[in-house]
């Protein structure tokens, strides 16, 4: 069986990739991908620490986190559709009307 530090290293790699995506991409849908990757890194850490403690709280919190992420994606995608309808584009640099 693998050790705890292996899982945390994979999670750090996923977090780094997600931060890269959020910083570099200007496409709204790609940024949503990056957010999903970061959330999955967090879930992986929760379950890994819950396994090695061992305690059921890690898995319970991971289930909550997955459900809340589903809600977040639903709202994010509908925001994408609204913004696309208004600007005919998915570039976040164009979504400036709320920016002042």
């Amino acid at each position: 069986m693998s050790e705890l530090v292996d899982f945390t290293l994979v999670s750090v790699a996923l977090l780094g990739i997600g931060i890269y995506g959020l910083a570099v991409k200007r496409n709204f849908i790609r940024m949503l991908f990056a957010v999903e990757i970061i959330i999955n890194a967090a879930n992986l850490n929760l379950v890994a620490f819950g396994r090695f403690l061992p305690h059921s709280g890690g898995q319970t919190l991971a289930l909550f986190s997955i459900a809340i992420a589903a809600a977040e994606v639903a709202v994010g995608l509908s925001l994408i559709i609204v913004a696309y309808r208004m600007y005919q584009n998915v570039d976040i640099a164009d979504f400036r009307s709320l920016k002042g």
Partner: protein, 169 residues
């Protein structure tokens, strides 16, 4: 030491995470995102958490990824294949990624969690159910309300009043 299944899963997960962000087409990108989510589900299987793994497959791979695919299909074709980014930002982003990975990785490798191993039996999924209905029951009800509210909000946001008015008049 890491075994073969772990190594294969980490290659699949991290490789398809990079592919999801770097693929030219958004459709292939969202299919690669499915690979990442499925790889994380595989890690959950390795961590003896089959309940969370199946939940992950049902919610993420089954519904969220399909939702993303349908949203991508609603977008114009030339936008799907257009890459919007500038070079300087890309190098800055790669630098930021390397700083995060190296610093956090060094902290983890130096810390005490390197020595943590366990021989204890896996957590019984009945404990998760007991957690949900005893200690976490207010959070469970709140989560249901949040899900209902967000789905309703998404429907209200995506509604087109101009089309509806045309139909009724």
């Amino acid at each position: 030491m890491a075994d073969v299944a772990f190594l294969a899963l980490s290659v699949i997960t991290i490789g398809s995470a990079i592919a999801a962000l770097e693929m030219r087409s958004l459709i292939y990108g969202s299919i690669a995102l499915m690979g990442t989510l499925g790889g994380v589900a595989g890690f959950f299987f390795l961590l003896d958490a089959p309940f969370v793994a199946l939940f992950q497959i049902a919610v993420y791979v089954g519904s969220i990824a399909v939702l993303i695919l349908f949203t991508v299909m609603l977008v114009k074709r030339e936008l799907i294949f257009k890459k919007i980014e500038d070079r300087r930002r890309k190098f800055a982003g790669i630098g930021l990624m390397l700083i995060v990975m190296v610093s956090l990785g060094a902290v983890f490798l130096d810390s005490g969690i390197k020595t943590i191993t366990t021989d204890e039996p896996q957590v019984n999924f009945r404990d998760i159910g007991t957690d949900f209905v005893t200690y976490y029951w207010p959070a469970l009800i709140l989560m249901g309300l949040i899900l209902a509210g967000s789905v309703t909000g998404a429907l209200v946001l995506a509604r087109r009043e101009d089309v509806e008015n045309e139909r009724t008049s």
